[in-house]
């Protein structure tokens, strides 16, 4: 079977959905961050796929590099936030952080 563009897109979609699911349903804050990473990586796969099968240029790969850097920065910041949350709430469970409800 020849691997075409659609296979890459389906994989990235599946990854995206899984990441989304992880993001929305996991109790642990770190797990939520993992979900975010998955989503970002799914987006990356999408970019690379279009570089290989789409227009003849380097845009896709360039974007992927940027995404990786931003993902790393964002992960650092997010972990810093989680650390602060832990300091204040003494728990990393996302449902426990509901002080903004009335």
């Amino acid at each position: 079977m020849t691997v075409g563009l659609e296979h890459f897109l389906i994989v990235s979609a599946v990854l995206f959905v899984l990441g989304l699911y992880a993001m929305l349903s996991r109790r642990n804050a770190i797990a939520v961050l993992m979900g975010i990473e998955l989503i970002l990586n799914a987006a990356n796969i999408n970019f690379i796929a279009f570089t290989r099968y789409g227009a003849v240029n380097m845009n896709g790969q360039m974007s992927a590099v940027f995404v990786i850097v931003i993902a790393a920065a964002e992960a650092a910041v997010a972990l810093a936030i989680v650390l602060n949350i832990y300091k204040n709430f003494h728990s990393v469970s996302v449902p426990d952080v509901d002080k903004l409800r009335d």
């Binding site: 993001m23 929305l24 939520v32 996302v94």
Partner: protein, 741 residues
């Protein structure tokens, strides 16, 4: 206006002046009111005597009328007015003398009898207003004025009976007198209305003229024929006389009226006021149909019997005289009913004299008894009970002998005035009874029977009071004759009870000047179809004999032309009246013998039972206990009235009270309860429906609030889910909206 008319108005006004002067100065006159009243009455008496002297010389009637209440032009009738005025005929002239004389003597008597009384001045004032009212009755020339003064006299009687109003008995007696009187007045007023509705006049002369001209077919009461209506009118007006003159069934007030002072009883309830009924009957005599006459005669006859039977057993000196008065009034009314007009009025005059003498005499005795009991500090013995008296003649000779003379008069012993008048009545009743037949045949029997009873109970009284052994020695010791102011009237009245004032011959009153010249029987003017049906043969026989007499009558009644006097036409007597007169003459001799016999029988019986064999009375009473009680308790008529009449009204009053308490108040309470119930419903509505709605809206808001609040979980992941959902929806919408375009 004729001089005599003016004088009569002055006489009318004098007692009124006496009343006004005294009533406004009661405090000042508390001991001397008689100094004003007695001279005024004396002056009135002198004027009355002058009027009588002048009038009795002249024939015809003096009349003065004026329009009193003008109604203007009434549609359907024309100019309408009530006229009033003064009329003086022989009847009036004699009544003026009777009233002023008795009133004057009573005024004089009272100055001693009522001395020291708690309300001396008020007493004299009301005597004055009474005299004024009575005089008004006798000089009026129309039924309306008569009715007004009729009521005034009733009021005066009420005021005088209740003179000692701190006691309950006089209060009740006065009320009874007035109310019973008013019952009679209802009939009288109805009769007056029949007259007015058909003739639009109350004037006697005018009424007689209209009726003698013939009854119009429109003269009808509730569809009765004109003749029947005339009978009804006569009987109804007579009802007033039933009330005023104490005839059965309205006689019950007179014995109770004895609660008033004795001079009042003499004036009002013996001589004058009760005579007003007889006077009224005399005035309407011309229009009494045969049927009405029979009713009048039977009422009078029955009353005289009823009262005489009660008087037989009474022990109070005044009650005997009261029932005697009712009985004698029955005689007078019966006389009017049987057509013996002259005899009836004659008896009114003689009765006024001797009855006043008897009452004032009893007053003298009571006065003496009072003094004696006061002396003995006895406040329980009844000074009026004859069983405490006896042998008074020796101690009170003037009182005693005048009383005896008056008793001779009432018993009908010759040489007295009473004999003359009573005898004429009995002859008239015998004549009527024979001619009329039927129930009227009982009338002369009743008449003679009552004469026997009258002689009996009057001499019973005389023997019990003035003769025999005194029944109470202690009281007898302190009794003494009364002062001159009290004995002088007695002497005067006793003298007036003798025969020679009324005719020369003591045993032939019909030819004496009183009955023949002064007050002959007046002609009736009833339609011939309503006249009493005396035997036709007798009528035709006497019509033939009558003709020369008619001419004689007309020759004697030629009147002087005087435009100031309105003369009543001299009618000749109707055929039935002629027949009656002749028959009366026929039976007069026999009647006289029977009446003297009957009177002597009565006196002898009384002498036997009360002087000779004093235990016989008690034995008889014991043997015939039921009859005795029936008489002593006035035939239980008062008890019957209490049960039937008063009871009925109490029942009605109680029913109205029940209605008011249960139905009317029930309705009011019911409305209240309905309002309360309604308010409960409204309350429920307010609580559950209105408040419910309010709560409902609040609940809805709360529900939605809760619902929307659930969005705000504070959880980041929830927000992300929502965001995702909205993005998807947005994507779908945009995709398909753009696809549609």
């Amino acid at each position: 206006m004729h001089q005599l008319i003016l004088l009569s108005l002055i006489i009318l006004g004098l007692p009124l002046v006496s009343f006004l002067l005294i009533i406004f100065n009661q405090k000042r006159l508390q001991r001397n009111a008689h100094l004003i009243a007695v001279p005024i009455l004396a002056f009135a008496l002198v004027l009355a005597l002058y009027i009588a002297y002048e009038k009795l010389k002249m024939p015809g009637t003096l009349n003065f009328s004026f329009e009193w209440i003008k109604f203007g032009i009434v549609p359907g009738i024309g100019p309408l007015a009530i006229t009033s005025g003064v009329m003086i005929d022989n009847l009036t002239a004699i009544m003026l003398v009777v009233v002023t004389l008795i009133s004057f003597l009573v005024h004089l008597f009272s100055s001693e009898y009522m001395k020291g009384d708690i309300r001396y001045a008020r007493y004299y004032a009301y005597l004055g207003i009474f005299t004024f009212s009575m005089l008004g009755i006798v000089i009026g020339n129309n039924l309306f004025a008569l009715y007004i003064f009729w009521e005034l006299v009733g009021f005066s009687s009420y005021a005088l009976i209740s003179h000692w109003y701190e006691k309950p008995a006089p209060q009740l007696a006065a009320k009874k007198a007035f109310i019973v009187n008013r019952v009679g007045d209802v009939g009288m007023w109805t009769g007056l209305m029949i007259v007015w509705a058909n003739f639009h006049t109350f004037d006697f002369k005018a009424i007689f003229e209209r009726i003698s001209a013939g009854l119009p077919p429109s003269f009808s009461l509730l569809g009765l024929s004109p003749e029947a209506t005339l009978t009804a009118a006569g009987i109804l007006i007579f009802c007033g006389a039933i009330g005023k003159s104490a005839q059965f069934p309205l006689h019950v007030w007179l014995p109770d009226a004895m609660e008033g002072p004795t001079p009042v009883s003499a004036l009002i309830h013996a001589a004058t006021m009760v005579a007003a009924g007889v006077y009224l009957t005399a005035r309407i005599f011309p229009i009494l149909t045969g049927d009405a006459m029979l009713v009048v005669a039977c009422v009078g006859g029955f009353t005289s019997f009823l009262a005489a039977s009660i008087a037989l057993t009474q022990n109070d000196i005044k009650k005997v005289l009261a029932y005697s008065t009712v009985s004698q009034l029955g005689y007078m009314i019966m006389a009017m009913g049987v057509g013996a007009f002259s005899a009836g009025f004659f008896h009114l005059t003689t009765h006024a004299m001797f009855k006043a003498c008897l009452f004032l005499g009893s007053g003298s005795v009571i006065h003496a008894m009072h003094h004696s009991l006061h002396h003995l500090h006895d406040h329980h013995t009844d000074p009026q009970d004859m069983r405490n008296m006896g042998g008074m003649l020796k101690k009170m000779p003037i009182t005693g002998w005048t009383f005896i003379v008056a008793t001779l008069a009432i018993s009908g012993i010759p040489l007295t005035s009473g004999f003359m008048s009573k005898d004429e009545i009995l002859s008239g009743a015998a004549a009527y009874g024979t001619l009329q037949g039927g129930i009227a045949r009982a009338l002369p029997i009743i008449g003679f029977g009552v004469a026997l009873m009258t002689a009996f109970y009057m001499w019973r009284q005389v023997f019990m009071v003035f003769f025999g052994k005194p029944r109470n020695e202690k009281i007898y010791e302190h009794v003494h004759e009364s002062p001159k102011a009290m004995t002088a009237p007695l002497i005067m009245l006793a003298v007036l009870s003798l025969w020679f004032w009324y005719g020369a011959n003591p045993i032939d009153p019909a030819n004496g000047w009183f009955m023949k010249k002064w007050v002959p029987t007046v002609a009736q003017i009833i339609p011939a179809s309503t006249a009493p049906r005396f035997g036709a043969a007798e009528v035709s026989m006497h019509t033939a004999a009558v003709q020369p007499r008619i001419d004689e009558v007309q020759a004697h009644t030629c009147v002087p032309e005087n435009p100031m006097t309105a003369q009543v036409e001299a009618h000749e007597l109707m055929p039935h009246q002629e027949v009656l007169e002749q028959k009366t003459k026929d039976v007069a001799g026999m009647g006289m013998l029977i009446s003297v016999f009957v009177a002597l029988t009565g006196i002898t019986l009384a002498w036997f039972m009360y002087l000779k064999n004093t235990t016989l009375a008690d034995n008889l009473a014991r043997t015939f206990r039921p009859l005795y009680n029936f008489s002593l308790n006035k035939w239980y008529i008062d008890e019957f009235y209490e049960y039937a009449v008063v009871g009925t009204f109490m029942l009605i009053a109680r029913s109205c009270g029940w209605f008011d308490t249960h139905v009317v108040d029930g309705a009011v309470n019911g409305v209240g309860k309905v309002t309360v119930a309604f308010s409960y419903i409204v309350g429920w509505f307010d609580k559950y429906v209105v408040d419910g709605l309010v709560n409902l809206s609040a609940g809805v808001t709360q529900f939605f609030g809760m619902m929307f609040r659930s969005v705000q979980t504070g959880k980041v992941q929830t927000y992300m889910v929502w965001t995702l959902a909205c993005i998807v929806i947005l994507f779908v919408v945009v995709r398909f909206v753009f696809a549609a375009q």
